[in-house]
């Protein structure tokens, strides 16, 4: 049995009186594409924010490749090899697409400020490599021609892809995507699915994605976890989930409180 890449155990978070996530557990195999779905307000983004360190859980733990991530701040979690994209893209709007990706490479650029100020050879070499790498990543997501465009001027679909390129620049082993398909047309959704599959194949990434768009979720995922009202509802392969009565009730029925 392969060791799980991402393990979430009993994750709970309370905001004041509201329990947004209650004892949620899941485990993702390395190299898998794992989706988290559920009706609005089910706690999917909250789960993502907990894993990536934006919130600290009230209870429970998160581990990646055997190392604890619980309670670490976001930048530490990125250092451990976990990258993410955002539902409302958090791009650096005034910077060019290339520079956005270069910021993603931040941790890998090994030179000091002094070397930069004195324009020493190591700075120049590292920056040249960084520019090349940024352009490679932009080409990978199909934004090669937009390298100099300010991120804020790009179309929504392009911005999503730029965020993807930036997340890849971090050099992650786990990539978490928050509603990557929202607002995209069917053709774009298929492009996205193909791109994600390619990433998994070529880079050996493990992917966790949150989405509502079933076209992506059903066709792409190896396993799906369903949340409802902050609680774990079901988990299984796309086929199993499609047929699960509790899941159907949660999406279609109204009151799925423990019925």
């Amino acid at each position: 049995m392969t060791r799980a890449a991402l393990v979430v155990e009993g994750l709970t978070i309370r905001f004041g009186g509201l329990v947004a996530l209650d004892q949620v557990s899941l485990s993702v195999a390395p190299g898998a594409i794992h989706a988290v779905i559920g009706p609005n307000g089910a706690g999917k983004t909250t789960l993502l924010n907990l894993v990536t360190g934006i919130y600290s859980p009230t209870a429970g733990r998160v581990a990646f490749e055997g190392q604890a991530l619980t309670g670490l701040p976001p930048h530490r979690i990125a250092e451990r090899g976990v990258a993410r994209t955002f539902q409302n893209t958090e791009l650096f709007a005034e910077m060019s697409a290339r520079d956005n990706v270069r910021v993603g490479l931040h941790r890998h650029l090994a030179y000091s400020l002094a070397e930069a100020v004195l324009r020493l050879p190591r700075y120049r070499h590292v920056e040249r490599k960084a520019a090349q790498r940024a352009e490679e990543l932009l080409d990978l997501v199909g934004l090669g021609a937009q390298a100099d465009t300010p991120a804020g001027d790009l179309a929504l679909g392009q911005q999503r892809r730029l965020e993807l390129a930036r997340a890849l620049a971090v050099g992650p082993r786990l990539l978490m995507l928050d509603e990557p398909a929202a607002g995209l047309r069917a053709a774009e959704v298929d492009e996205l699915s193909a791109a994600l599959r390619r990433l998994r194949a070529e880079l050996g990434l493990t992917l966790v994605l949150i989405d509502h768009v079933m076209r992506v979720v059903m066709r792409l995922s190896d396993r799906i976890t369903v949340l409802n009202y902050g609680r774990w509802l079901a988990e299984g392969t796309p086929e199993e989930i499609r047929r699960d009565p509790a899941v159907i009730a949660a999406y279609l029925g109204g009151a799925a409180h423990g019925a």
Partner: protein, 288 residues
């Protein structure tokens, strides 16, 4: 001794409370923190002096003039600076209000000179004793007027259309816009309201301290009081103001008068850094 400290403390505190109210009213309604509010206080105090000394107006007329000018100034700021800057990042707003305050201060310095001005006394400066405490008529005036103004503010917000529109915009700008309330008008009114509150504070405090272009540092204390009170709460602002006034006076009496200001500012820094939600407020959570 303690009673005396309380009396002086509440007097200073009432002034801080008025300024704090100005900050909070403006921030809750428009999300802008007006770093020049203290300098508007200075402006209104000088306006009274100018009215009395140069225009020969009786005190009450000069006060009315000052209040009217402050209101007008508030409209000027809203229309001339805040409206063009709508949607700008917070940093830009802070710089803009800082610049407004600096401009007021410099204008006063140029127009009236940097030396302190004496304010002609309206009330008798003769002290009298009540139950062992030494009071000056000005003290009672400050406390009395401040109380009336605060009560008036609360009544206005609750019982007039003008006031209720303001509250609606506080709580739900989109909803307010949907029911036809002009958010822009309400913003203008809020600026007038804050300016008038600062003006009242300035007119009240002027006889008690020497008039100088740098009086506006009271604004920092008003801000501190607002933070102590949780920054988003009107009663909190009042409580914060009174508390600050008492603490500051106590520091002046029991520690040293020179260190009085250092205590205020030190308290302010400590509050901002360690307790940004103040004593009565809730911390602003950062959302993703």
């Amino acid at each position: 001794m303690l009673g005396q400290v309380l009396v002086s403390g509440i007097t200073a505190g009432a002034v801080y409370a008025l300024v704090a109210l100005g900050f909070v009213v403006l921030h809750r309604g428009t999300r802008v923190v007006h770093f020049g509010l203290g300098d508007q206080l200075t402006l209104s105090a000088y306006a009274v002096v100018v009215g009395q000394v140069f225009l020969g107006l009786p005190f009450w007329a000069a006060v009315l003039l000052s209040l009217a000018l402050s209101a007008g100034f508030g409209v000027l700021i809203e229309r001339g600076v805040m409206r063009p800057l709508r949607g700008s990042p917070l940093l830009v707003m802070v710089i803009a209000t800082l610049a407004i305050g600096a401009a007021i201060r410099e204008a006063i310095r140029v127009g009236m000179g940097p030396q302190p001005w004496p304010i002609p006394f309206v009330l008798s400066p003769a002290p009298f004793t009540v139950g062992g405490l030494v009071l000056v008529p000005a003290t009672l005036a400050v406390a009395g007027v401040a109380t009336v103004v605060m009560l008036g503010l609360f009544l206005m917000l609750r019982h007039t259309r003008f006031g209720r529109a303001i509250v609606a915009v506080y709580e739900n700008p989109t909803g307010a816009a949907i029911v036809g309330i002009s958010v822009q008008d309400v913003h203008a009114r809020l600026w007038v309201l804050a300016s008038v509150l600062a003006a009242v504070a300035g007119i009240l405090v002027a006889p008690l301290i020497t008039l100088s272009p740098d009086m506006g540092t009271i604004g920092i204390k008003g801000f501190a009081a607002a933070i102590l009170g949780g920054f988003n709460s009107l009663p909190g602002a009042i409580a914060g103001g009174l508390l600050l006034g008492i603490l500051e006076t106590a520091a002046g009496v029991y520690v040293s008068t020179a260190m009085k200001d250092v205590v205020s500012y030190g308290l302010l820094i400590a509050c901002v850094l360690l307790l940004p939600q103040g004593l009565f407020g809730k911390a602003e959570a950062r959302k993703v």
